[in-house]
Point group: none
Chain length 214, copies 2
Amino acid sequence: MKTLTHRQQDVIEFIGQTIDNAGAAPTLREIAAHFRFRSVKAAADHVAALRRKGVLAGPPRRARALRIVDAVGDWATARALGRRLARLPVYGTIPAGLAEDRRQEARGCVAVDLDTLGIRPTPRTFALEVRGDSMIGRHIVDGDLVVLEHGKMPRHGDVVAALIDNESTLKTFVQERGRPPCLKAENPRYPKLHPVGELVIQGVMVGLIRKVKV
Amino acid sequence: MKTLTHRQQDVIEFIGQTIDNAGAAPTLREIAAHFRFRSVKAAADHVAALRRKGVLAGPPRRARALRIVDAVGDWATARALGRRLARLPVYGTIPAGLAEDRRQEARGCVAVDLDTLGIRPTPRTFALEVRGDSMIGRHIVDGDLVVLEHGKMPRHGDVVAALIDNESTLKTFVQERGRPPCLKAENPRYPKLHPVGELVIQGVMVGLIRKVKV
DNA sequence: CTATACACTATACATCTGTATAGTAACCAT
DNA sequence: ATGGTTACTATACAGATGTATAGTGTATAG
């Protein structure tokens, strides 16, 4: 990675501070005003250079859309940006397609501390309210809120949400060598195996939230 | 606090998600596009209403400068999305006194959506990282984060944190009529009963957060 | 019935914002 | 000396953006 000049470090530090304080990146003119540039181009040049060096990102031509790339390096700005929260849609049952319009079928929302759950804020992350005790063997009980990530490759032993008979159910993903993958319910009272072929894996479990009834 | 309409909750939820995903608040036209408004004014009206109700802030006439009034502050109740969030201290083991100095011994912090967990934001609410499987019978496993409320009266069957041999352990609170209350471990491999008399109940479980190792 | 809040459509406008062109000046390596 | 990078000034412009005016329809409360 290319190193940043002193001036460039100043600029990216100001951008980071503005993001932390104001919640949004500064405009080029705000950068220019802060450093008393008489020309916006000076700020634009700096931002362009920082983009070129890979420490700034974001779509072009968009106001306040600058994002600081979390870089590892000497200059990495020590930004203590608190905890990152994501607001995930909660489903009672996941609609079949899991397309764009997820929000409309969502039952509500849950704010999740990403650092605590150790997950990245994928737009395809969602929560599912568990019904029944088919996963009691994995200590997932009725009423639990399971956080799932869509589009992730399930591995052997992962808990997944699958669409069975037009209903979302939690199952354990079983993949033994030389055999086709199956789904297993973690409760002796439930049918043990389902073929995976015709099924749709809607998400892989990454976390769980339980509310204790008081 | 004025309540938000359903539509307003949708709008602020979208704003929050955009901030989380893109790093910057959406413009009025982006909001309008997302909800398929044919007029920007619809989005402007919603934002104005959310500003009036105190859940949105930020300087006017500035692009992407919307901020959701932060709820993750200290113990002061605030709201994001009409949701109240609290930042709870996490302990590996609860210090004996459970006095003021909790933050210093705290291992970390977890932001919790109070509405999801259905708890009130008591300053005496905290989290405990579970070690061992003494509560496996209640489907609490090693590594789980148990949210507890201090000072609450435990009732029969509640899961409580108790100080035993200078260590915090989770137990089930047992109170049968005509007998003194006891503590019970939910694992046959553990001693079943403890007298309550000399013990200190440090908190009553109100919620649980599980992180799935990936 | 009237008034008020809500949820919009349609159009317009001043300003904000990113980007561009055309330079100046200092420094550094070849 | 020559070309390249850095660090700016000055001016300009198209499109993005917040805000405003005018109006429609639908609830809900007094």
